[in-house]
Amino acid sequence: MKCLISVLLFFAATTCFANTIIVGKGKAISSLKLAIKTSKNGDTILLNAGTYKEGTIIIDKSIHLIGVNTPILDGENKNEILTVTGKNIFISGIHFANAGYSSMNDYAGLKIIDATNIKVEKNIFSNTSFAIHISNSTHCTISNNSIKGTSKSEHSSGNGIHLWKCSQMLIENNTIQGHRDGIYFEFVSHSTIRKNWSEKNIRYGLHFMFSSDNSYLSNTFRNNGAGVAVMYSKKVIMLRNHFDQNWGASAYGILLKDITDSRIQYNTFFKNTIAIHMEGSSRIQVEKNIFKENGWGIKVQSSCDDNNFRFNNFYGNSFDLATNGTMMLNYFSNNYWDKYEGYDINKDGTGDIPFHPVSMYSMIVEQNPHALLLMRSFTISLLDKAEKAIPGLTPENLVDNYPKMKPNKL
């Protein structure tokens, strides 16, 4: 009996404080704008299936907007679709389509401004110039959204998930395709990005600047125009990500520019033109990654220092390592290099002679890119052998003193 009363009371309370407004054809309210206007904080709006063309819709109350059978909000190629500001707002199950494009304003499918504790779940975005655009917000969760842009040129399209000046965000399980940058961060901190799938974007799969203390876990970045670029940030953690098939003249698995005190671990780099390109970066732990069939495994410019490359596995890369000078202030140890030809007399699994991963030929190609045409030539391998015997051109202290005989177990 007591139980029943409490249940009744609970229902009474919910009906008192939180109404459910149903919007749809043939219902009392058929316009979403009107529904939002009549709603109070804590209400739930159920949006029935159908296409709604209502211009820019603004939510500034703490409400739940839930789509039933994925209703479509259509921006008719000229409007921003939904703008959200405030706190405790929940949006799910809605298909945002055809946001407008303007070179003055960043029109978006869903724009979140000055907000906290927003949840955006299981929505679909198609042909929206910016899909989700968040600025000056905290504690938001963006999860399970499917975002697909129609690829246009770089300057006429927006980013998939765009965050500017945010913190404590969670971006999870989204799939992003065909935008300018899949995920774009600027001035974002203490956020987690995990299990997202970003592919076929025009520029970068992931692009962030001035965004410290963030973690990137188990994401996949595949076949993006220029791969992934990360710049001017500290304390970045990248674990278990996949960087696949980022091919092109300036495509990188990851481009690291001025990144410090970070960790890049347990990632897989497969078939990228350059798996990791490092410039002006310091104190990064690059450990236990797999580099497979890349053009260049790692390109370390001599402006990098104090980076540790340990326990990585290199298989079938055209060049394992390249650098642009003779100065080398980074450390290599315990990596497995499939090009290592040394021996292991005491059978401790570590090769007895050091391995110099930078070949003479990779220095030649660095200086004269046309020499790429001579790859795998007999003359080139003779040159490499001669250089191995008497090093002259390759950086002398770029050496792995403990190369592994067998691949590291990861």
Partner: protein, 255 residues
């Protein structure tokens, strides 16, 4: 002509050198695949065999064969038979025996253990290079009068194509690095069948690197339909032209 080729083939088989060569290729290919855990590394070693050993064996074997069967050729010339036909059937016999040695020795292991793009590119290049260097060897042998000179000339040609040429290309690339060299390098690669074969395989093997900065240009050219036609066409020229020169020389030669 077929009959004559058959006699040449029979003669070659009797000398057992080709059989030894087949067994050598077969053993090397198999052991490469057994030794390396991933087949791409084995392919790399096979690439060196195809680019270095194949031309060398084709050159040396063909010249030696030519001089050894010199008396047979003289005998045939006394028969009512055109000299063009004699030389072409000699070529057919030698080329068929070397080709089958390659296809059995390398082809079977590759088709069994790595039947992918790289494997087919390797076989294509191997077949082309065998035919090209057999043809070049006939040219060298017809020109030189005695055996030592002929073999010396053949070895010199091998040395040039396999080693010196690439060093020259590297020299040119560095001396003229301030100029746009894209078209020149394409032309330079066409002037050496070994380079052409190597690039053909490299396109499949080092795709990732070739997608980079300058590589994309070569990739676009050689990887496209016209590029494949270009490679095949140039290879055909490399087979036909030396053979044609050899035939021309042989017809007027005082045996």
């Amino acid at each position: 002509m077929l009959k004559l080729s058959r006699y040449v083939l029979y003669d070659i088989l009797r000398s057992k050198i080709v059989i030894a060569y087949t067994i050598f290729l077969f053993a090397v290919s198999l052991s490469m695949f057994q030794m390396e855990e991933n087949s791409s590394k084995a392919m790399l070693s096979l690439l060196n065999i195809v680019l270095i050993v194949l031309p060398l064996v084709s050159l040396v074997f063909t010249t030696i064969h030519y001089y050894n069967s010199y008396e047979f050729i003289e005998l045939m010339s006394s028969q009512p038979m055109s000299r063009t036909r004699i030389l072409l059937s000699e070529y057919a016999g030698v080329a068929i025996s070397l080709l089958s040695a390659f296809l059995i020795g390398v082809g079977i292991p590759v088709l069994l253990l790595a039947p992918n793009d790289i494997g087919f590119a390797l076989l294509f290049s191997g077949v082309c290079l065998t035919l090209v260097f057999t043809s070049i060897a006939f040219f060298a042998a017809v020109i030189a009068r005695d055996k030592a000179r002929g073999i010396g000339f053949a070895l010199l040609l091998w040395f040039y194509f396999a080693l010196i040429y690439d060093s020259l290309v590297l020299l040119i690339l560095f001396s003229f690095s301030d100029y746009p060299l894209e078209k020149i390098t394409l032309l330079l690669s066409a002037l050496n069948p070994i380079d052409l074969g190597r690039i053909f395989i490299m396109l499949k093997m080092d795709v990732s690197a070739l997608m980079g900065y300058t590589g994309a240009l070569y990739k676009d050219f050689f990887g496209s339909g016209t590029g494949i036609l270009f490679t095949t066409g140039i290879m055909l020229l490399w087979i036909i032209v030396p053979l044609w020169l050899a035939v021309r020389k042989f017809r007027k030669k005082d045996l």
